[in-house]
Point group: D2
Chain length 148, copies 4
């Protein structure tokens, strides 16, 4: 099983130099918690909603300042063709919760801890068999918000 | 088992009217992803790092604006004496990832999805027995960041 | 949440003195992996399919010998009113995979590691929200056999 | 990650024609719940402790009868070089709890549901990071028995 089968988040990218205001708007529009920062198609960094909040507000930046000032760089990544176990090890080794997924040099998505928890859940379901389904008759409720 | 045994996050609170800049600084200082908003000791709302990022930057607010404008209110809560299963149902029913924990009317902590995942992990460990520990000989790596 | 909500296996009981052949027939008829041994309504022991296989065949017993010779006694039990966390701790502390459930002195069921794994699965589903269901669209396949 | 990295149970084998008594003794000596049945090095069947108990005692067989009468045949297997996800699918599709592992035609081990649960546990630990270890300070108790 490869990374491409587990990732469920699109790669939302902005160019280096993009104002923080625009980065926040992309996060809101696409419902994502991180945005990748590229330069001429090459990945330069990653910025999360928390980076924006703390960098811009606590750090005294302005909404017109460039994303470069708060992004994390260089970025730990995984390849779209990596075995999913490589991704587990990378999450474990890095402590990050979101990893950009590369196809060669091109960014094709973001792999999150939530994607991996779904993989854990699926494995457990495989082992428990049909009884697992029978106990889940109750409606699961509203979608889980990404960040609260 | 009660909520008090599972919660691991302190209750970081600010008063209504606190500027967004100050809220962001509290999040940075205490390493938390949400801050509770109180008025005269009574819980009025909750604000996450994402609320700050999107509200202030995408929404055009200023770092001096009051937290009231971006907080979620009213707030879904759990009681410190609730059975942990009540908390599971509340997470499921609400879709939120952080729930303030009340002792009467006083806020005593925040219960997060990560706290609950640790509870799931502990249960699985109880069932697997000593073999679970023997496979975990490898160093677990750096701490998991709260939001990336 | 109490033990009574998690247990899914009936209490199949035989009297002390019951021949091993009859015990095996009860296991086959009710599709269970263990049978409780009682004397005048009081729990005296528990016997598993493995106890039968090893005791009778490897140990040189006869199918007409009494169950008393292979049962485990005394038995670690849980109460039907115990919190489910007491059961987790009992599984962890004892290393057993099946625990008779008592209502006072009366045996009302058997709690198994599989019951507890279903509880773990349900908790994880509560935390993952609706996305958990969406990934389980595939048919789960045939029932999991108890012992192979 | 391949099947070879997850399997922890040795392949205990007997020849077709082996008496049930001897099969039970092998299970006791090696602490396993299933024994493979081979003929000239080729896998012919698998027999569990439950098959022995129910077949020999409930079915009226004698301890001197041959294992062939109670074994399951043909056997669902996995290859030692299969990706672990193939094994998950095979457990799910078959409903069995133990799968012989083949290297070509040679049997090299047995993969159990417990091996797979350990894999699930390890994945969850990878995602939770160091906090997972910190909550497991308590001694894990005695080894989990294979079948009770």
């Amino acid at each position: 099983m490869t990374v491409s089968e587990a990732m469920s988040h699109p790669a939302v990218s902005v160019s280096t130099g993009t104002p923080l205001r625009q980065v926040a708007r992309e996060m809101a529009e696409y419902g994502v918690g991180s945005v990748l920062v590229t330069e001429g198609g090459t990945l330069r960094g990653i910025v999360t909603d928390r980076d924006l909040a703390l960098g811009a507000l606590a750090g005294g930046l302005d909404a017109n300042d460039a994303v470069d000032s708060v992004m994390t760089s260089p970025v730990v990544t995984v390849s779209v063709t990596d075995d999913i176990h490589t991704a587990y090890r990378t999450f474990r080794g890095s402590g990050f919760r979101r990893l950009p997924v590369l196809d060669g040099h091109r960014v094709v998505g973001v792999l999150t801890v939530d994607d991996m928890l779904i993989d854990v859940f699926q494995r457990l379901a495989d082992l428990l068999g049909p009884v697992a389904w029978s106990v889940l008759e109750e409606s699961p409720g509203p979608p889980s918000a990404e960040t609260r």
